[in-house]
């Protein structure tokens, strides 16, 4: 096995790909949105229960490759309990890391969460797979904007 593949498919990714966390619908979501990657047919639905400015609960459903499933699973783990502003800051940081862009500094309290997302940044070396990792985040962002209108975001 080439090193570069192990870099992409780290154990934590394989684990979350096989056993995704928070993999179910929410009974009473305040926000939801679907993500669709027409290139590979992957689909994900993100559910949010927002109380005030805090994400009280977050979950997802869908089918996708190991990368997009692990990305959605890890995302739900770090987003639970965060404020909307914190969640947006984490996404900005994550997107910058996987696309090689510039990210602003994160507040210290979010550093541990950013580290949990670190294994996904292996997609940097596989440009065609970057969209797999960012799809659930784009759906999350769309859910925040559209509430229960169930907007669909596409990667293409």
């Amino acid at each position: 096995m080439t090193m570069d593949l192990r870099e992409l498919y780290q154990d934590i990714i394989l684990d979350h790909g096989r056993h995704p966390r928070n993999f179910h619908a929410l009974e009473h979501p305040t926000h939801l949105a679907k993500g669709h990657n027409p290139l590979c047919g992957d689909r994900v639905t993100i559910y949010l229960a927002v109380e005030g400015d805090r994400i009280a609960d977050v979950s997802f459903e869908g089918r996708g490759c190991a990368i997009s499933t692990a990305a959605a699973s890890l995302m739900t783990e770090v987003l639970k309990g965060k404020t909307i502003a914190e969640a947006k800051a984490l996404f900005a940081q994550f997107r910058a890391k996987v696309t090689g862009g510039e990210a602003g500094a994160l507040p210290e309290r979010l550093e541990e969460d950013a580290e949990r997302l670190e294994p996904l940044t292996g997609v940097k070396a596989h440009p065609v797979r970057v969209k797999c990792a960012t799809l659930p985040w784009h759906a999350f962002e769309a859910a925040l904007k559209s509430g229960l209108a169930a907007q669909t975001v596409k990667t293409e």
């Binding site: 096995m1 080439t2 570069d4 593949l5 992409l8 498919y9 394989l14 790909g17 096989r18 290139l39 590979c40 047919g41 992957d42 689909r43 089918r63 996708g64 490759c65 190991a66 990368i67 596989h126 797979r129 797999c132």
Partner: protein, 415 residues
């Protein structure tokens, strides 16, 4: 390289390893196992160098200049048309229209022919194996005309269901458009019989020959079709080239689709007289070098012989089917009784995208996803599949490399 010199290399034994040397891409990537010719074939040196040579020695615009160089360029361009005619055994070279690819060829018919002849309540029949390019143009033509798109099914074994097809035909059927070989399953459809039945119902027939033309003899007169289309780039030719064959009486009855220079006889400010086919359908400066390159690709194919190519690819297809069906967890999509050069499969528990990435890191290039055939994937209940498709440069060793890479992917994702 000329057709004659290729023939002298390869009549005795079809040797893909020696043929690989005719494809410079493999000099740049010596370890590459290229199993995506169904998407686009690699190019032989004779095509790559021949196009450059044409630009260096004979190039000018065609059908315009009175100077000798333009005459030479026109001769090369029209000689390519004659090569395509002979390649498809069309009756007349005026039945060969140069287009950008099969997609444009189908759109040309769906706009020009359907625009004139498809009426409200009429039906267009396609199969459930079609590529998006043989679905969407008809779907949109039906929407424009108030006609209906009808889908003829394949059965559980992947075989085109002739009885179901026959039952769908009626006096309302105006056009039947089917693929010659499925780009997903490799199923070789009985197109001559399909054309015969369609004609008895009074319908016209278009065949998508993209996957067939590079690997088996095609005779449009024997098939009895009204239209036959293919893309040059899947047949070892340059991108941006393609062919619409239309029986002359069909083309003659059709109005132009795109208009402009090159396709006119006489232009007045409120009226234009159009040229006869094929030029009526070739508005603007055509891809002259592309057509010349396509002619060279045909020389390459004919140099090897399409019977020999078919025999070779049938053997490797059989080997691939045997090898992959012996791998635990690998499930081949049903392809009917006759399958050629394309096979798709699902690896249990693994997403096609992940399989594709692991295979790529083993230098095995395959296509993953829905293969531009989403309705078929929906029918099979798959989000996508992995597809291996062959070219003349592939042999059994490539299939062994594919199988080993699939096993490596399974190992990596083992629970």
């Amino acid at each position: 390289m000329t057709a004659a010199s290729l023939r002298s290399i390869d009549t005795a034994i079809f040797d893909p390893r020696r043929l690989r040397r005719e494809f410079p891409i493999f000099a740049s990537h010596p370890d590459l196992v290229f199993l995506d010719s169904g998407a686009s074939a690699q190019k032989p040196r004779s095509v790559i160098d021949g196009i450059a040579e044409f630009y260096r020695t004979d190039y000018a615009n065609v059908h315009r200049g009175v100077y000798r160089l333009s005459g030479r360029s026109t001769d090369r361009f029209e000689a390519a048309r004659e090569k395509v005619r002979a390649f498809l055994n069309a009756a007349d070279e005026r039945e060969i229209v140069f287009v950008r690819g099969a997609t444009e060829a189908i759109n040309l018919v769906a706009y020009s022919w359907c625009g004139k002849f498809l009426k409200p309540g009429d039906e267009v029949v396609i199969s459930d194996l079609e590529h998006h390019s043989n679905i969407v143009p008809w779907q949109q033509a039906c929407l424009r005309a108030g006609a209906k798109l009808v889908v003829a099914p394949t059965d559980a074994t992947g075989e085109f269901d002739m009885a179901a097809f026959e039952a769908l035909l009626s006096p309302r059927t105006r056009m039947v458009a089917v693929t010659h070989i499925s780009n997903v399953t490799g199923h070789l459809l009985p197109v001559a019989r399909i054309a015969e039945l369609a004609h008895s119902a009074g319908a016209k027939v278009l065949i998508d020959g993209c996957q067939a033309v590079p690997r088996m003899p095609v005779d449009v007169q024997a098939l009895g079709c009204d239209f036959y289309v293919f893309s040059g780039h899947k047949a070892y030719g340059p991108t941006g080239t393609g062919v619409l064959y239309g029986r002359y009486d069909m083309l003659e009855a059709m109005p132009p689709w795109q208009t402009g220079g090159g396709m006119i006889l006489n232009v007045e400010i409120d009226h234009t007289e159009f040229q006869e086919p094929p030029h009526r359908f070739e508005a603007g400066t055509p891809d002259i070098a592309g057509a010349v390159g396509l002619g060279l690709a045909i020389d390459f194919i004919e140099g090897l012989g399409r019977d020999a190519i078919r025999e070779h690819e049938e053997r490797v297809t059989g080997y691939a089917t045997d090898t992959l069906s012996r791998l635990p967890g690998v499930h081949l999509l049903p392809a009917g009784q006759r399958q050629l050069s394309v096979l798709s499969f699902d690896v249990a528990g693994l997403h096609p995208h992940d399989v594709g990435t692991v295979l790529d890191r083993h230098d095995v290039a395959v296509r993953v996803g829905h293969h531009c055939a989403q309705p078929l994937m929906d029918k099979l209940g798959l989000a996508g599949a992995v597809r291996a498709s062959l070219g003349v440069y592939n042999d059994e060793r490539d299939i062994d490399r594919l199988a080993a890479a699939i096993e490596a992917a399974q190992e990596m994702f083992r629970q």
